[in-house]
Symmetry: C2
Subunit: 356 residues, 2 copies
């Protein structure tokens, strides 16, 4: 196998984002809109009455208690990083979100914006180990919206290359014609949406280092779990678990770069199965947020109760995720690299410092 | 006490360079000239016949075996980093040297050059956690040479600020009128040379975050150790250990920023005492090279023997250094900061990302 070259910032970044086994056991606490929504519910107030302070306090508490268990923590530069950076241990990597929360509706699709006055340069300068971009994407959606979205990815990919920092893309599908994501129609579409999205962004031109992906099927629509096993609601099945495994396998065959699983707000029991199946079929770990800590939010503003829940149930969720991801593929064993010894520093040599 | 503000790159950098206690237990393997000299001796050849490969192999071996024991590793961008970066564990910080090896003689003094085609920008981009600059300096030397040297420090300080990365300065004294560093005259001068150097570079205008200092006296010239205790050579004493402790205390009173001790090629037994005295009087740890690993070099080119020595005696040296530095002052407890809770992120707030 031909040796694969990496620049030092990208390589070191991958080493730091993953744990000592090269597996990504990462926590996301970069939620903005969805966290405000959950806090509004906890406080029984409208979402626009949730104060910045409420979001900040929640993020501090979650980061403080749980980040020591993660190989890296993804946070946001508004309510997260500037308040929580000192609670992230020295041996836990940091990913910073580049996008503005939410999206703009356009031609039945969703357009992403980068956060104004924020940049890849600032992310690198601040000491983070990766740029993360959440991107709404439908490979079968409006072509103009698709190109708009891909152009943002290219731009961020170039910045990541310029500042020599890993780029993690989180493409998220959404409903266009379908009645919603929790529908038989969407469950049927989902494998294709996820896999075709991977086929696009796995291309070298985007400069992505790790893909953060939705589970490419919906367990609630499997024959095995369609009878309300997770939430008590009966659904019509779209596939069975064997088919879901094949879908994961196809996703993995399509991905030419390492990929990890996002939790998208599903409950921990469902997410554990997602992780087990995905990592058994080539995923390199997870970058999970709400599945780990969402049940702490309803305790807000009682910070003591939050802390108690996080340091017991929250930690337990993390421990279970480590177990569920035992088979995760170390990033350096992903087919992109083959094995650790097959990776080489780009321009290695005594003149490296001149050419870098 | 007024809160002290840090930018995120600097703060995170200090966290990563120091260990979980906030103490610096760092290893230097950035030697170029002095390592070539030692390899020439090991190979019984003239120094200019030592090959790049010999230096590289030695650095790989030392880095591989010993870096897991360090909180951070200082290496060089020529024979070190491009060959050893993948052997530095994810939880061990990296410092990169900025200077060209050696110096230029000028008006009885020594002028430092920065390594051509190398920069603070590249150091940050490559994923390092600090810029290190070795600077020959005599506070009482030729004024023109002094200003030349200080100007380099200012320039590097500005770069470190621009790229938001810690700046560690290593000022090293040298003989002008004295017959050599191993002389009664130099031993008598040394406290003043080190302390006056600290007085200069502790000034805010230089933007230095950590000083890497010579022990401000010479134990071989103390009444207690002047009778050949370290190397069998009898010397005339310049001071006793009580006076040496006072000298360290004075140094520490002068330093308004954290400082660590360098080993300057002394043997481990002497260095352990240096570290014990310095850390008992305010030093925040060590950044030591040859004292830890120099006895492995004579085994070259027998890499097996080198590895065996490093993984037994070398590791033992490290372990003893941890013990000798037990009283080291965590960087955040240095009087510059007071305590951890007294440090604040510069411009902390939901608009931080805009203003950063």
């Amino acid at each position: 196998m031909k040796r694969v070259e990496l620049t030092p910032g990208k390589w070191r970044g991958l080493q730091i984002l993953s744990d000592e086994e090269g597996k990504f056991r990462m926590m996301a606490i970069d939620q903005r809109g969805s966290l405000k929504k959950a806090l509004a519910k906890a406080l029984s107030i409208p979402q626009d009455e949730v104060k910045d302070e409420d979001v900040v306090k929640t993020k501090i508490m979650i980061t403080k208690v749980l980040s020591p268990y993660a190989s890296a923590v993804l946070t946001d530069p508004v309510y997260g990083f500037p308040y929580t950076m000192e609670y992230i241990p020295r041996d836990v990597g940091i990913l910073l979100a580049y996008e503005k929360t939410g999206y703009e509706k356009a031609q039945g699709g969703r357009k992403t914006s980068l956060l104004p006055d924020w940049s890849g340069e600032k992310i690198k300068r601040a000491g983070a180990n990766a740029i993360k971009l959440l991107l709404y994407y439908r490979p079968d959606g409006d072509p103009e919206v698709g190109e708009y979205q891909r152009e943002i990815v290219r731009k961020v990919g170039e910045e990541a290359k310029k500042y020599d920092i890993p780029f993690l893309l989180e493409p998220v599908g959404y409903e266009i014609e379908e009645p919603g994501k929790d529908s038989l129609e969407y469950a049927q579409q989902k494998p294709k949406i996820v896999i075709e999205t991977v086929r696009e962004f796995t291309k070298e031109e985007y400069g992505i280092d790790v893909l953060k992906l939705e589970f490419p099927a919906d367990l609630k629509y499997t024959e095995e779990f369609a009878h309300g096993e997770f939430d008590g609601k009966e659904r019509e099945p779209a596939y069975d678990l064997y088919e879901v495994e094949d879908i994961c396998e196809e996703l993995n065959d399509t991905a030419t770069i390492p990929w990890v699983l996002l939790s998208a707000g599903v409950d921990i029991e469902e997410f554990l199965i997602n992780v087990e199946i995905a990592t058994a079929h080539g995923a390199s770990g997870f970058l999970a947020g709400r599945a780990i800590w969402k049940d702490a939010v309803p305790f807000y503003p009682d910070l003591d109760k939050m802390e108690k829940w996080l340091s017991t149930e929250g930690v337990d969720n993390f421990v279970r995720l480590y177990k569920a991801s035992e088979e995760a593929v170390p990033y350096y064993k992903h087919k992109k690299f083959g094995n650790f010894a097959n990776i080489d520093l780009k321009d290695r040599g005594v003149d490296w410092h001149k050419n870098y």
